[in-house]
Symmetry: C2
Subunit: 311 residues, 2 copies
């Protein structure tokens, strides 16, 4: 089949194949991405972040459920494929999400750890691009709110949702510094748990104190396990999107493209360095650094020199 | 003062200054690092990871307390400067840690988010190097067990501790896939909480099932808030270190050097690209990508071409 054509038609098998190709990150992937790219940029990207255990996946599932009633086409990028240790809560979430996997218009991509060099912005940007080309109306990017790159990625969405949960040990309510400041909409999930009202008051007080220069973001209470609050949440998301100027959205999309470009440059340079230097030579460099006969800074300069010398 | 000489003497003010320099990541920093590097590689590096709320900082504090009775010189690298939202638990931890900040032989570096391009391996490796040059016996690297890069960093330690906590919502017990497999020692913290024994049994059963090909890691129960279990934990750490062959340790140290080198190369290339391309030209590239007149893959190739063309 003509893969690009089928992706553009929204053929689920083609989308799956395109995403596999992109995950493997070979030459074919780049050819595909170049062809797909002109057809991207039109979906609404919703970033959703919260601590582990805040109910992100369940909430995403409920949002999908609701949006599907409206026949909206959905792509999901799950950036934090965490592994459950005890108990099946997360496993349960994944299974709940999978009920939508029989629905051809809902597509979930769990982002595998791509190692240190892949670049999360590139991987996320490419998954988003495939979904956009396939005509998804809305793309939900779900990330955990604690890792460095994970937070950077969610900042590139059109609208950023930050999930909090009441009580249950205050120390769980911990985010990467700066994440409270980037929320466009706050969600208090598990709103039936003790302390939810108290928490809402605290949050509102904090926002009123802290956000003197800009509008206070809305706070939506949800009980994701029962689907309560989802409708209101979607309304707030749509309100936010329609309220913002096209320039505001363009600005965020440019940031995503910027980070994606930088990741692609680094990726390409890494590939070429790997090609221009033999693995045995590389091991030799590391061994000399390990023995303190040289240092990584000098070696880096040497390797860049070799890279620049070759075509 | 002669900064390198004073760092090598372990002068706390010099160490502080060196770390500030390295954080600012300028030309001076690299000169300093080149001079410091030959004096590194001798400390024991302990990686400690666990979910937010698992008591990492309190445990690290207790370990420091214990090790200081033995006059051991300690460096701490805190890779996850999370910001507390409600409640002061984490703030409390930081303050508890600060009681050691009056102790000249204990040095804490909180790793600021260095943006998308800094490289966590480089930043961590440099902080470790300064501490090693300053003669620290043991360097504790504390990271949250959920972010992608954060997990990569902890894997580079000589010994890896993974903290679990009993009960309290099983879904908090969530790690980046693969982290259970890299633990050299497991810690069940908050061991006085309900479900601790059940959890220990579950963990041991899981380890016996899963680790057929290698030795089962020890499981240590702690109550970090009361200092219970710290002594046993330190003993297990020392047992692990002395049991492993020098080649095993060398292997891990080479991995740290490898990732650090790759980060330095990327950092240098990024610097040079920023220098060889005008910011306005860069904005122009992004704008053309945004308007879908081109794609990031083609632009990346163009930019690498420009970079290779200039000296």
């Amino acid at each position: 089949m003509d893969l690009v054509k089928e992706v553009l038609k929204g053929n689920p098998r083609a989308v799956a194949k395109a995403i596999s190709l992109v995950e493997n990150n070979g030459k074919d992937a780049q050819q595909l991405m170049k062809k797909i790219f002109p057809h991207t940029g039109k979906s609404v990207i919703v970033g959703i972040t919260g601590s582990p255990g805040s109910g992100k996946s369940t909430l995403v599932d409920q949002m999908v459920e609701y949006l599907r009633k409206d026949k909206r086409k959905i792509g999901i990028v799950a950036v934090d494929p965490t592994s459950p240790f005890s108990g099946g809560a997360i496993l349960g979430d994944r299974i709940r999400m999978m009920r939508h996997s029989l629905d051809a218009e809902v597509f979930i991509r769990s982002m595998a750890t791509r190692g240190h060099l892949g670049g999360l912005a590139k991987a996320t940007g490419e998954a988003i691009a495939v979904f956009e080309a396939a005509g998804k109306d809305m793309i939900l990017v779900e990330t955990v709110g604690v890792g460095q790159d994970e937070v950077e990625v969610v900042k590139l969405a059109d609208v950023i949702l930050v999930i909090l949960i009441p009580g249950a040990g205050d120390d769980i309510q911990v985010f990467k510094a700066g994440i409270m400041e980037i929320a466009d909409i706050f969600i208090i999930n598990k709103a039936d748990a003790p302390g939810a009202d108290k928490m809402e008051n605290q949050l509102r007080a904090m926002l009123e104190l802290g956000m003197k220069d800009r509008e206070i973001p809305p706070v939506v209470k949800t009980i994701a396990t029962e689907g309560q609050g989802t409708e209101l949440l979607i309304e707030e998301v749509q309100k936010f999107i329609s309220k913002k100027s096209p320039e505001f959205r363009a600005q965020r999309k440019r940031r995503l493209l910027y980070w994606m470009l930088m990741d692609i440059i680094k990726d390409k340079i890494y590939d070429r360095i790997s090609q221009s230097i033999e693995e045995s030579d590389f091991d030799e460099y590391i061994e000399r650094i390990y023995q303190r006969k040289t240092d990584p800074y000098s070696v880096a300069e040497e390797i860049i020199g070799i890279f620049k010398g070759k075509s």
